[in-house]
């Protein structure tokens, strides 16, 4: 008699050997296997925000890792936890990735206490991206509020590296106080080398502030937008989306040409844990980058 249920030991299968390729979403892979990475540099931006430059240690894993502007990774501190962080470095930089992280919780708090040389885990990249290819030949309007500049850095690098393919690039960047401005050390480079029009605005100025004062929407007075030929990328706190996108829709930019990036507290990044569900849409799979038309049709999105 043969009544033993056949044993299928997937631990012996080929997918256990190589590193997972998160860009090939449909293959069976070790979904929880993180790429061991070293924090090679930590740039202190403000009192609560730091830019972590992270290098995947294993050369073949580093080589495999490619992403597009707008995608995110799951960053893991073994024993502490895992958090979704959008990538804010250039997709063409294959040596390290940049993650701009605000100290807000347990994992990010622990990360802020770390020093260069710390070993972390990276899974990803996950999620949708800003469709930079579709924007070729057009103007791009990038609008960031507060920490929203972090995910915008990736498309900004992209635009610079493909500068001839795009027309006028405008960045509008608003924060509450001048001390919260991130990446100001790059502003000159962006203006001079990247050939971008960068406008900044703060709500509560200090005595040294020389630029505009007000809300980010006030900056629309200072620029002219060609709605027929402009794509918009908007990142920031949810309250901002509605005001900006409504304004842009009113001047005639189609909602499918506005892209925003949503945030949720994801636990898996792979459409399994359901923690990031917005209505019936997964922020991790269908997002984080959505066009505004889609967002308008989502319940509770912003």
């Amino acid at each position: 008699m043969n009544l033993k249920i056949p044993k299928h030991d997937i631990n012996l299968e080929p997918f256990m050997v190589g590193p997972p390729d998160f860009n090939r979403q449909t293959v069976l892979m070790q979904t929880e296997r993180g790429f061991k990475s070293e924090v090679v540099n930590i740039v202190k931006l403000t009192a609560i925000e730091k830019l972590f430059q992270i290098r995947i240690s294993e050369p073949c894993e580093r080589e495999n890792f490619t992403f597009l502007p707008g995608q995110f990774v799951m960053l893991e501190l073994p024993g502490c936890g895992e958090v979704p962080i959008s990538i804010s470095s250039s997709p063409s930089n294959r040596e390290f990735i940049g993650l701009c992280i605000r100290k807000v919780g347990k994992v990010t708090g622990m990360l802020h206490r770390s020093e260069p040389g710390a070993m972390v885990g990276i899974r990803g990249p996950f999620g949708t991206y800003f469709p930079m290819q579709k924007m070729v030949g057009r103007n791009i309007l990038l609008i960031a509020g507060g920490l929203g500049i972090a995910p915008l850095r990736s498309p900004i690098y992209w635009v610079n590296e493909h500068r001839s393919e795009y027309k006028d690039i405008t960045i509008l960047y608003g924060v509450k106080e001048p001390g919260q401005i991130l990446f100001d050390y790059q502003f000159e480079e962006w203006r001079k080398i990247y050939d971008l029009n960068l406008l900044t605005i703060v709500q509560n100025p200090d005595e040294n502030w020389k630029e505009r004062v007000g809300l980010i929407t006030d900056l629309f007075e200072d620029i002219s937008i060609d709605p027929e030929n402009t794509f918009a990328i908007v990142c920031g706190p949810p309250v901002m989306f509605k005001f900006i996108c409504t304004y842009l829709a009113n001047i005639g930019i189609p909602r499918q040409r506005m892209f925003i990036s949503l945030e949720r507290r994801m636990h898996c990044g792979m459409g399994k844990c359901c923690r990031c569900i917005v209505g019936s849409t997964f922020t991790c799979l269908d997002g984080p980058v959505f066009d505004y038309w889609t967002v308008m049709n989502l319940k509770e999105a912003i």
Binding site: M1, K4, I5, L28, G81, R265, M270, K272, I277, S280
Partner: protein, 347 residues
């Protein structure tokens, strides 16, 4: 599909044979409720006598043999600044006897998420691949509404599926493993008489459904009645305890937790099943909660079941077992909520 019959005597021998070679899970009574009715659970059985083939409904669903309440996803050896991650998938061949059509359909729905969409889940895959399911037909209980959800019959996702036709079981066979096992116990070809008895039993089962839920326009209603007072009416009763999700055969939401041992030499990444009714389900860093109220969370549980999942997989994520209705401490039953929604539409 192949069909055979096996006498109950031979079925007993088959179970005893399976028990000798494998771990066998089946319905067992564990307790009694206030009315003196047995409370069943799917548990490991040690002898055929422990298996209660006449059970009514297990309190919680057998899904936890595929999605355990808690599971270690990875372990880490920590060494000063460095660490090593280790991942091992649990390979544990076992037989589950007595699963209902609705519970097997629930697994098929989970398969959609865990195996057939992006990032197939290897932990689930390992368990699904190493489990032989022997299903069992039953007469519906008062509150079963699986017929309305189209989950009262099942065509795949199992090894064997039994229907009691008197002195023998009418068996649908759906895997080679199961076929080989069955044939070792004098399984017979289906006779005309067997077939007639099978038809009669099936008709009788069909005639016993008492509870119906109208889901025809439910996905649309979920959007149309998004701001309805119905959600507050039921949501204000909700205690946000998460019992519904724990007993549900299709709820799969989870959370991740990591911890270390006291000497910081080992760490574990653990997944635990969660419930979208729990207070902090949609909380993000710094304390903002996208779903701060119980009624909003309750609404989203229904929204995922009857709208979101329909959009993604063209079927709802409910099998009509009413386990959540039974388990709910506040007496919220899915039928009552859905009926209410449909009524408001008609006004």
């Amino acid at each position: 599909m192949l069909f055979k019959t096996i006498t109950k005597e031979n079925f007993k021998k088959m179970v005893e044979g399976l028990l000798e070679e494998n771990e066998v899970i089946g319905p067992r009574s564990r307790d009694q409720d206030l009315g003196g009715n047995k409370i069943y659970r799917f548990l490991k059985i040690n002898s055929f006598e422990e298996l209660e083939m006449d059970y009514t409904r297990s309190y919680s669903s057998p899904k936890n043999y595929f999605l355990p309440f808690e599971e270690d996803l990875a372990t880490y050896r920590l060494n000063d600044k460095d660490w090593e991650q280790e991942i091992r998938y649990t390979i544990h061949p076992r037989v589950i006897i007595g699963m209902r059509a609705c519970d097997i359909n629930a697994l098929l729905k989970l398969d959609q998420v865990m195996l057939k969409s992006v990032y197939p889940n290897p932990y689930y895959f390992a368990r699904r691949r190493n489990t032989l399911i022997i299903g069992l037909d039953h007469e519906p209980l008062e509150d079963c509404f699986c017929r309305s959800m189209n989950t009262d019959t099942v065509f795949h996702g199992f090894g064997l599926f039994l229907t009691d036709i008197g002195d023998r079981y009418f068996v649908a066979i759906n895997s080679d493993t199961a076929y080989i096992i069955l044939n070792q116990f004098d399984a017979r070809e289906v006779t005309e008489e067997d077939q007639e008895r099978y038809k009669t039993v099936k008709k009788q089962i069909e005639s016993k459904f008492k509870t119906q839920v109208d889901i025809t326009i439910l996905p649309e209603l979920m959007d149309l009645e998004f701001e309805s007072e119905i959600w507050k009416k039921w949501g204000h009763k909700c205690l946000s305890c998460g019992s519904c999700a724990m007993v549900c055969p299709t709820c799969y939401c989870y959370g991740i937790e990591e911890d270390t041992n006291l000497t910081f030499t080992k760490a574990t990444k653990r997944r635990f099943l969660y419930s979208c009714n729990l207070l902090d389900f949609a909380a993000v860093a710094r304390g903002h909660n996208f779903r701060p109220d119980a009624h909003i969370r309750l609404k989203y549980r229904y929204y995922h079941k009857f709208r979101g999942f329909v959009e993604a997989f063209s079927q709802s994520l409910c099998v009509g077992c009413n386990r959540c209705g039974k388990a709910c401490l506040a007496g919220i039953s899915p039928k009552a909520v859905i009926d209410d929604l449909i009524k408001t539409e008609k006004k």
